[in-house]
Symmetry: D3
Subunit: 139 residues, 6 copies
Amino acid sequence: MRITRRETFNAAHRLFRPEWDDSKNLEVFGKCSNPKWHGHNYTLYVTVEGKVDPHTGFVLNLKTLSKIIATFVVDKLDHKNINLEVDFMNGRLASTENLATGIWEQLEGPVRELGAALYCVKLVETENNYVEYFGNDPA
Amino acid sequence: MRITRRETFNAAHRLFRPEWDDSKNLEVFGKCSNPKWHGHNYTLYVTVEGKVDPHTGFVLNLKTLSKIIATFVVDKLDHKNINLEVDFMNGRLASTENLATGIWEQLEGPVRELGAALYCVKLVETENNYVEYFGNDPA
Amino acid sequence: MRITRRETFNAAHRLFRPEWDDSKNLEVFGKCSNPKWHGHNYTLYVTVEGKVDPHTGFVLNLKTLSKIIATFVVDKLDHKNINLEVDFMNGRLASTENLATGIWEQLEGPVRELGAALYCVKLVETENNYVEYFGNDPA
Amino acid sequence: MRITRRETFNAAHRLFRPEWDDSKNLEVFGKCSNPKWHGHNYTLYVTVEGKVDPHTGFVLNLKTLSKIIATFVVDKLDHKNINLEVDFMNGRLASTENLATGIWEQLEGPVRELGAALYCVKLVETENNYVEYFGNDPA
Amino acid sequence: MRITRRETFNAAHRLFRPEWDDSKNLEVFGKCSNPKWHGHNYTLYVTVEGKVDPHTGFVLNLKTLSKIIATFVVDKLDHKNINLEVDFMNGRLASTENLATGIWEQLEGPVRELGAALYCVKLVETENNYVEYFGNDPA
Amino acid sequence: MRITRRETFNAAHRLFRPEWDDSKNLEVFGKCSNPKWHGHNYTLYVTVEGKVDPHTGFVLNLKTLSKIIATFVVDKLDHKNINLEVDFMNGRLASTENLATGIWEQLEGPVRELGAALYCVKLVETENNYVEYFGNDPA
């Protein structure tokens, strides 16, 4: 059984490599490299897998899951600059892929302590693109 | 090849254990335990897996699948009280997880008779949470 | 300038007239008259009209508007039985139209105190139907 | 007859008054005043009113309208910092209300040259709030 | 009080004037003039205005409204070719504007017989464009 | 890591077998067999699986992926008749299943040349049905 919680946050970011100059960054990342930032309404789907507890009928309590996502992810990202202000993105390119990986690392332990397993972090950046991370990528 | 049919139904329910008093139920289930009920617009996605029939280009006829879902699931749930009026939920806590399991049990046989295999029952309770059941949970 | 805040709540209800028996209620209201209740995920859009304050760039502060909607509307309706537990629906048939009227009456004064004017209450009951009330109906 | 074109853009912004210090801005604008910016996926609906041309069956050609919106609005806003990089927002607080007003001013003339009248600029900032501007506010 | 019913239908169409050749039609209507047709999932919102009946709490019964829309509009359009098979579009360019006008003409009388007034026909052709017709355009 | 790009196209089609007469086609395919065509707004989700490139933070560049989908899929389908005008659907029944298979075959090679693997083609025909193809069906 898998259960999914949706959360949203708004943030600014920029795609660039600090060792490249603006024109090289523009070539690789296009307008996403704008040095003055841009931003998104991100939608996050956290999917957890586990057995149904026969006493509650729940895999886990969604209120608890939502609080954990707030503490470890949303409070750190919402209305923030992903490149400058988010501890777990420090030193990482602020791509959707890397952000999903960072969110996975934030949530994997806390979800395990609830007695379930993190199954998927899906992060929607725009209506036209999203990434899904299942934790099996050592990159 | 997997094919998915979406259906909707509206129902009332309440999360509670009859052997617990109201305050214990409130502690575990929060406002979802309200003794006077609350309700949802549920969205159901039934995903079926099978080979494409070369004569029709279909895994199965969606009209037939829709009728089966109506007969075994939607007609029993729509505008009903899940705790009091739904035979296949009798004696079960009316959580989204248990409801998805019940829907799976209702559909697995009839879908097999159509020559395909039920792959997933996805049940969306609110815009912020849904469950997916793949039939492999003995709970 | 009009500004709109979206809120959601889940509730149980039933359409019926107490002076009619179940078969008459069934004839007029169909399955919406089920004596054991059913329910919905309601989506509420509150639209307010006013001048833009040159100091803030706002018609009004949406956080304040959201708190007012919570206090006067959502906290009274969410996870409740509209027929039995909502003071401002007391003695009223729990149709979407009457609920929108009741919500208007709850919000009109508090919005005026914020220095703006309530323009429209839009209440979405299912993906297939919604009502809009503009406060000009004496019924 | 009214016809509406939807467009999207992503941008960074910040709500603040330069003559106020950070703590005063925080008090009034909350986390939207973050000095390191945040951002949104904005959705813009441009509604135009006019007669249907009997030769084309159109109020106006939507491809032409879309190009005008691109030139005067979207190209100036997409992947930009609204506070720092958008000429028509120069000296204006970057609220949704002011942005809608600015977009109206950008489009009113070009739409009139197409033989139609700009009726409404609707700007959706998040799934929970949007503004509508009809051009009749002298502020 | 306004109440809106949403319905959907799928149809093929083509934008062209029979007195123009293919290259002239292509110049004016672009790929929408493809002689071999293309098609859409149309979404139709029918908004009706009226007083709330104190006995039912309804402006009108949505099931009745839905049946009227089915009889006069959806059954004639669904899985049809708008240019070739829809009586009320005979001799009319199959633009979204003209289709909305035709739908208005189909529904105005029957809605009046229900004791309410047709207020708006909104027709969504793609996620990026829709028209709204209020019946006041003599074209 | 999986990354998904959404694209849309509008097309006409008809479900039928040329060796069957209209009444046999009507019996099997219902109104989808209408000889004068009908059509849809199709939504296509292309999911690609791969490692995250540490230099870019990307599985692959979405702009490149979008161009490949345009060249091999969308430009061939948009505003076209699937039965008559789409080379890769030649001789195939225009069902959603077969169209998803055709799109997979179009994209598998070009995606591999980008250094990633096509994981899933999801094709949404209406809000109530979609298919997913993972390339493992030899039909």
